[in-house]
Amino acid sequence: MAQACGPLIDRVLQRVFDPAGVGTTRAQVRDLLSRAQQYICCAFESQVVSVPLTTQPTLQVYDFASIAPDILKLKSVRDGSRDLSEIEFPRLKQIDNHWFGRSGPRFETFSVLGRNILVIHPQCPVLNSVNVIYVQQLPALNVEGDPVNLPDDQITLLVKLTEALVLLKQRDIVHLQPLLADLTQEAKQEEAAA
C-alpha cells in the first residue's frame, strides 16, 4: 500500500522501451499516472471514506460540493446503522409525484443525479444527519516522492493503463492494441464482479 510514484514511472518507461524518458518525459508520465489512478480507484472502489452530512430541515437536494470536495463516486447513504435504499431519480416520481414536498419521520431512500446532486428522500422537518459513503479522489502526484494510495494488487493495472497512454503518445499502435484488449477485459471482469 502507498508506494511512491517514482519507481512506477521507471516501470512504465521501461515497458515502453524508453527508460531514459526521451520520447515521454518523467513529468509527463507522472501526470498520466496521476490521472490514471483516479480511474483505477473508481473502478475498484479502492479508497472509500465516510463523511457526516447535516441535513437541513425540508431540504432533500444536496450538491456534491457541499458534502465533500473530493467525491469520485457516491456509494451509499447511511442513517445511523441503517443503509438507505438507492433509487433512480425518475423512479421518485413513479412512486409519488409529490415527492419533492413529502416529509417523513426518517429518511428512506437516496438518489444520485449525474455527478453533482444527491437527493435524500423524504424530507425531514428538523435538523438531522446522515453519513455519506463515497469513493474518494486520490491526491494528484506532484513530485516523484508522492505516494500512490492504491492497494498493491491494483498497481499492475495502473501501470498498464499508464503504459497504454504512453504507447498512444508514441503512436505504437502495434503494442497498444493487445494491451487495450487486456485492459478492457480486466475492466469487464471487474464490472461483472461488482
Binding site: 490514471a36 431540504l59 498512444l168 499502435i173 487495450l180
Partner: protein, 198 residues
C-alpha cells in the same frame, strides 16, 4: 484552467500535431456530448407571474430536462400529439399545471398544461436554501443537465476522458495529419476510462 489543461494534454498526447483551433472546437463538442449523457447536473428555481402564459423558459444552458417540479408536484411529460388528441384547445387552459410539453428542444422552453394562473411568491426566505426552507409557493424547481463550458469547468477526473475524445475527433477529421488507427485507439481509451468511472 481546466480547458487549458485539457488542450495541453491533447497537445502532449499528439506530440503537438493536433490543430489547436479544431481541438478547441472539439473540446466544446465533447463537453456537450457528456452533458447529453447527464454527467453534469444542476437544479434551480423558476418563477411565474400568474398571467396564464403557458410557456416556461428553461434557460440557454439546459441540455436535458431531467425533472420539472411545480409547487411540490413533479410534472409528467406529455407529447404535443397526445395533448392535441385529448383537447385541441389545451393551450388555452389555465389552472394548476399537471404536465409539460416539450415542443422543440432547441427552443429551450416547455409548455405547461394547464398554464400556471397562480403567481409565484417572489420572496425567498433567509435560510439560503432555495430548494429547501426557502422554496416559494407556486414556483418550479428544474433539474437539468448542462455543458460546463468556460468559465465553468468539468471535474478533474474527466479531463483525460475529454482529451482522448478530442484526439479521436481530431485525427478522424480529414487533414494532413489524419490517422484512423490512432483515432480509434484514443476513442477506445476514452471509452475505457469513462467506463471505469461509471
Amino acid at each position: 484552467m481546466s480547458k487549458i489543461d485539457v488542450l495541453n494534454l491533447v497537445s502532449t498526447l499528439s506530440n503537438g500535431m493536433a490543430d489547436p483551433v479544431t481541438a478547441d472546437k472539439y473540446y466544446d463538442q465533447t463537453i456537450t456530448d457528456l452533458a447529453h449523457e447527464n454527467w453534469f447536473v444542476d437544479a434551480r428555481l423558476s418563477f411565474f407571474d400568474g398571467v396564464g402564459d403557458p410557456t416556461m423558459a428553461l434557460g440557454d444552458d439546459v441540455v436535458n430536462l431531467l425533472g420539472l417540479i411545480y409547487d411540490d408536484v413533479e410534472l409528467e411529460e406529455a407529447s404535443r400529439v397526445q395533448m392535441d388528441s385529448i383537447d385541441p384547445d389545451w393551450r388555452d387552459a389555465d389552472g394548476y399545471p399537471r404536465s409539460y410539453i416539450m415542443e422543440d428542444v432547441s427552443k429551450k422552453s416547455v409548455q405547461l398544461h394547464p398554464a400556471a394562473d397562480f403567481p409565484s411568491n417572489p420572496n425567498l426566505g433567509n435560510f439560503g436554501e432555495p430548494l429547501g426552507q426557502d422554496y416559494p409557493t407556486y414556483a418550479a424547481a428544474v433539474f437539468f443537465s448542462y455543458a460546463p463550458l468556460p468559465p465553468l469547468q468539468p471535474q478533474y477526473y474527466l479531463e483525460l476522458v475529454i482529451a482522448l475524445k478530442v484526439l479521436a475527433l481530431e485525427f478522424t477529421r480529414e487533414s494532413d495529419h489524419a490517422d484512423m488507427e490512432f483515432a480509434q485507439a484514443a476513442q477506445a481509451l476514452s471509452d475505457l476510462c469513462k467506463g471505469m468511472l461509471a
